[in-house]
Symmetry: C2
Subunit: 219 residues, 2 copies
Amino acid sequence: MSVITVERKILEKNDEVASQNRRTFSERGIFTVNMVSSPGAGKTSILEHTIERLRGKVNLAVIEGDVQTDLDAQRVAKYGVPAVQIVTRGGCHLEAGLVREALDNIDLSTVRLLIIENVGNLVCPANYDLGEAAKVVVASTTEGDDKPLKYPAMFRNASVLIINKIDLLPYINADLAALRKNALSINPSLRVFQTSCTTGDGIDEWCSWLVQSASGAHS
Amino acid sequence: MSVITVERKILEKNDEVASQNRRTFSERGIFTVNMVSSPGAGKTSILEHTIERLRGKVNLAVIEGDVQTDLDAQRVAKYGVPAVQIVTRGGCHLEAGLVREALDNIDLSTVRLLIIENVGNLVCPANYDLGEAAKVVVASTTEGDDKPLKYPAMFRNASVLIINKIDLLPYINADLAALRKNALSINPSLRVFQTSCTTGDGIDEWCSWLVQSASGAHS
């Protein structure tokens, strides 16, 4: 019995279901993003701002992943968009199969944009494809500028980096330029947005990218 | 072949080695803490302040755990204390066996306090006993006040909670009282310290607790 073999089998099975999910999204013209970050980097806050901006412009749905509680789905549901909560009960990442089950609870016929908020964890979700078009990693300025170097897999596997909480830069000793440089040294093709959910900075740019991507997926 | 069985076997094996570590620490009168948190909550900064305060008062050694890089061991080594870096190369937590190997690289004869800094991850390290006397969970105010509810295992298994970055409270919408209340609702016996590595607030209280605990382990 080899643990590595078991892990490979789990990942192979996951990749299979992720491919099914990807086909579903492609057939239906749904653009799907998988938002990943450390706990408390601001995924849910960015999501709330995003929904506020995109309501009425793009039909979107949300899948929330959490170790425990449905607090995040409650926050999102207030905005009147379809939201399904996955509670992993201790599990440290979402898997493609959990997303597939969640899809059964969403009427996909009108959805153009699906946002999956993963469990707050900068390590494990990096290895689990959910069938998304893009992994979006959120890094908070308050986490310091060295995180891309210390958790490289997540930054390597992401297509988009949102540097959040830029309003706090005057009060902390993290260096925004160093954070960008470190992230791009790991993955030069990262598209980078800089946001603040307190001031609203950068949210429009991020939302424009989402709308453009979603219309591309549909055409 | 059952994945759950494999995981149980891994945990059983880990617990066995953790017990060996615990015996080693007890026989030598070493007080050992296992510091856990989200990435960027401030474990290394707290550690630097702690070493500055305790140098010459308590003989301490440090084991650093990171997914990648030895940046943290470099930061700690500057203070002239014995520091060993464990690089997990993608692994999401430290295990007792890795700590045991690291101990071979430290002269334990004079050490009274061993601080292990775990991988930044609020989920997986909760399940892995390293043989420590106390798990210390660091929660940054910037992560928001709901994290104990969303990641309960870590707060349940910890003996100490350090609420860090309290200097940023005026600039964020996290509620310190709610954070304390949420943590204590998960684990009423948590000893709570409130710290800022920018102002130095609370570091003395935390260090006093460490010194007192270390002298208890030795007597």
